[in-house]
Amino acid sequence: MTLGFYPGCSLKGSSREYAESVLAVAKAFDINMEEINDWNCCGATAAHNMNKELSLALPARILSLAEKQGLTEIVVPCAACYSRLTVTKYELSKDPALKTAVTDANGLEYTGSVSVLNIVQMLDKYITPNLEGRVVKPFDHKVACYYGCLLVRPHEILKFDREEDPQSLDVLMLKAGATPIDWAFKTECCGAGLSVSRTSSVGRLSGKIIGDAKDRGAEAVIVACPMCHSNLDMRRDAINSYLGEKIDIPVLYITQAIGLALGLDRKALGLQRHFVKVSV
């Protein structure tokens, strides 16, 4: 079978290992991931802070291209891209005038027929039902599942998981053989874009997350967002200097953890690309 694939900028750059692991897991289940041709930026945080129409036109173009390519379902692993694409579908379905303005600007037909899946939804729908018997090396570790802000918010649009105490990653990791811990920072802010401009703030915010995960005995942090990953992994020096101790708990994408449980090659999952060595 074939699913559409929208990588977004991160999966082509700083989080190549996320893309690699998504594709590796998909391949293991004979799912063909077809990248959307000529895709563009989702608009990220910048667009919707400046111009609403632009912030909808950019994701709408991606969705139009997917329609043109004959795709009915597209997988969007980045939580920020997923949020933008889903919000766009929601806004355009509510406001015909806006839809016309956006399609005119793009010069592409848009019907809203493509459904957008985040990585958890994709795994839930196509991987976990067939997981039985495929787990060769259970991910037998205590894990802290970290959802960040965008995967589950805003609830009234995404209608995915529950906002304050999400469970979907925990359930997936349980199926992969892990022991998800009960902890308090599942949806706290990692510092997001301050990664570049105010690294010390990220050290503090992400520090609280890593600190609590450590205090509660987590051996790995599981994420589903490139931004979360880069802050918790790449900014570990800032985190450690905020906490005043050296914490080496690795941060894995959900697809990397599942890939390990499936016995996939560590390099194919991109585990060597992390700043904090993945020793699990």
Binding site: H155, R162, E163, E164, D165, D212
Partner: protein, 667 residues
């Protein structure tokens, strides 16, 4: 030939701003049968009414159309004016130019045209109006009060003291409601039970009040003055006449670990229990779900120890039918439990409690005998945090309204904590302090200034446990949203006040309306706060919206006066807008063919079979007959009647067709 008067009202500018009233009056004046047509600024004013009265007398009008507001507002006014001028009041009709036209359309010719059409319809209708007379119905001078909290207690006592009978039913084993659970009350800090229990005793002893606890409304039929209520008296497994309330059974019952509802789960009770020492009636009930005998088939220790042999294991629920003339609903409210708040621990942390639970901790009759001790380990909390607006004023949680009582009880809680735990630190996170009430603001200031409670304006995003402490993460919005982190020993959530369990079901049984939050709807938000849209059914207390004690009591007394007013009459008059089956001269008698489909569709059981007999007593025709005392004029039978033999008086087939034809300009 009809002589109809048309009276077009400007309603100040409410109608005339968008409708050309003079033109409406002028056009109407040219219709066949219209003898007089005029427009006036305020038709409901005395001069306006006099205009109608003098026209009736001088022109000999046979029908009146007042083109003004909704008949809900002024139909009684204008009908009365007509009656005073000697015209049957049911010869007066109203065209709703305000709500149906001027308020909802822009100024313009089309709007005036619509107004003209509305008048035209009624002019044609009124030609087919008949003189009708009001229906008299008797009043059963007994009130049913549902709910035995402070509102129900007050309403019952007030009605009973006017000399009328009251039946008070309460779902729980004792009356008293939430007020009996409270420790002290704001803004005077007087003990809640001390002021409540005398009223409870008075209810039990009042000769005019019949109290049924452990009882619920099963169903309700009838109408104002003449309700028939079925009450389910749940089995107490006890012969109340024999029970002396000695309490031996409750001390010997082996099932001792059942969370006590009265103590909000913080204390335990037995399976046969009296909810609290001052309960009225002070006689136990057996909670069958938790009773060893009902679960395992053996035990019966209570039966063995009972000195009077009052235990009845085989007692069944009783359904009792009572006739009442009015109903006061006082079923109260409940509060959201901590499991509604994933961000505050999702009910996981035993030391995150609700305000109602704190009341039990602070109460001398509570599980800690009034000492503030946290539920997890019984330690006295050195730092305590109170969270206002837990759920309230939060559209994302589906509760956009203010629960109203929390600001005050939080100030009281913090104050009680400071009085009881010397050297303890208390914090209150709040959005706004809403202390509108006599001595309320002063009370809050006292908590802050005299008792040193730390008020922090901001919300709490998360509570989590770390090293045995509850970490409360919040923000201080008066300090530029600076993050605040408090390591607390206990947290009290002022969880939103919400409609009681079963409110929706009860509203449907009573045929009253309720709001989106399942609070019962008053008939008018300002002018009819204790009435419902169903005549004869009144509201008191927090079943209508979150209310504090003084408001509940005031509302209850208000409802009681309404009931007393109703009971001051021997007969009620009802509008004759009811169904009638047509009668014709013999040998036809009626076009009714006796299919009796109407009987099966009537929701009020108001239709019966009538047999027409000849001189020899032989039945020659069997047809439907409407009981005017029971018919509510809903019209369901009219829609079902296949021979069109039933009409609603004032809304006959003839009148309806005429209205439609008038709209189609067929006249």
């Amino acid at each position: 030939m009809s002589k109809i008067g048309v009276f077009v009202c400007h309603c100040g500018e409410n109608i005339s701003a968008t409708v050309d009233c003079a033109k409406v009056a002028e056009t109407a004046g040219n219709y066949d049968g219209v003898a007089y047509s005029v427009d006036y600024k305020y038709m409901c004013s005395d001069p306006g009414q006099n205009l109608i009265k003098s026209a009736i007398k001088e022109k000999g009008l046979t029908g009146v159309v007042v083109a003004s507001c909704s008949p809900r507002m002024h139909e009684p006014t204008f009908r009365k004016a007509c009656a005073e001028a000697g015209l049957n009041p049911f010869m007066c009709e109203m065209a709703n130019l305000r709500e149906h036209c001027s308020w909802v359309h822009e100024k313009g010719e089309a709007t005036t045209e619509k107004a003209i059409d509305l008048v035209r319809i009624l002019v044609e209708k009124v030609k087919y109006n008949h003189s009708l007379s009001e229906i008299k119905v008797p009043v059963t001078k007994t009130a049913l009060v549902i709910g035995g909290g402070i509102a129900g207690i007050q309403a019952s006592l007030d009605i009973a003291n006017t000399g009328h009978k009251v039946i008070l039913i309460e779902r729980d084993p004792s009356i008293g409601g939430h007020m009996s659970q409270l420790s002290e009350t704001f803004p005077t800090l007087d003990c809640s039970q001390c002021i409540l229990t005398p009223r409870m005793v008075e209810v039990a002893q009042h000769p005019n009040i019949t109290l049924y606890t452990y009882a619920e409304l099963e169903s309700l039929e009838g109408f104002i003055g003449n309700f028939k209520a079925k009450i389910r008296r749940k089995s107490k497994s006890l012969d109340e006449k024999l029970c002396t309330g000695c309490g031996l059974c409750t001390t010997k019952c082996p099932a001792k670990k059942i969370p006590s509802e009265f103590n909000e789960g913080l204390g335990k009770r037995t399976a046969i229990y009296v909810p609290f020492p001052q309960a009225v009636p002070n006689k136990p009930v057996i909670d069958r779900i938790n009773c060893t005998y009902y679960i395992k088939g053996k035990c019966k220790i209570c039966e063995i120890v009972c000195p009077t042999g009052a235990i009845r294991f085989d007692q069944e629920d009783q359904i009792m039918e009572v006739e009442v003339g009015a109903i006061v609903i006082a079923t109260g409210f409940t509060v959201k439990q901590p499991d509604f708040f994933p961000e505050y621990g999702f009910g996981k942390y035993p030391d995150v409690i609700t305000g109602l639970q704190f009341e039990r901790l602070a109460s001398a009759s509570g599980p800690t005998l009034g000492e503030i001790r946290r539920p997890s380990d019984g330690k006295i909390p050195e730092k305590i945090v109170f969270l206002a607006c837990a759920g309230s004023r939060d559209p994302a949680k589906g509760i956009p309204y203010c629960s109203k009582i929390c600001c005050m009880y939080i100030a009281k809680h913090a104050m009680l904590y400071q009085h009881k735990v010397h050297g303890g630190k208390s914090y209150v996170f709040y959005m706004d302090i809403r202390a509108g009430g006599k001595m309320y603001e002063e009370f809050v200031r006292r908590a802050i200034e005299d008792d040193g409670v730390n008020y922090i304006r901001g919300r709490v995003s998360r509570i989590y446990e770390k090293n045995g402490k509850l970490i409360v993460d919040g923000a201080d919005t008066l300090l530029n949203a600076m993050p605040v982190e408090i390591e607390a020993d206990m947290v009290v959530l002022a969880t939103a006040g919400v409609a009681n369990e079963g409110a929706e079901e009860l509203a449907q049984k009573l045929h009253i309306s309720y709001d989106p939050y399942k609070f019962f709807a008053e008939a008018h938000p300002k002018l009819k706060p204790v009435e419902t849209n169903t005549a004869g059914i009144f509201l008191a207390g927090a079943c209508q919206a979150p209310r504090d004690i003084p408001e509940s009591v005031a509302m209850a007394s208000g409802a009681a006066v309404k009931v007393a007013g109703l009971f001051s009459q021997d007969e009620l008059t009802r509008e004759p807008i009811i169904a009638v089956v047509n009668r014709q001269a013999p040998p036809v008698y009626s076009s009714c063919v006796g299919c009796f489909l109407c009987i099966s569709t009537c929701p009020y059981q108001a239709i019966e079979k009538e047999e027409i007999k000849n001189r020899n007593g032989e039945v020659i025709k069997s047809m439907a007959k409407v009981n005017p005392g029971l018919c509510q004029g809903c019209g369901t039978c009219v829609a079902f009647c296949r021979t069109k033999s039933i009409d609603i008086q004032g809304y006959t087939h003839e009148q309806m067709y005429t209205e439609v034809m008038a709209l189609l300009n067929e006249y």
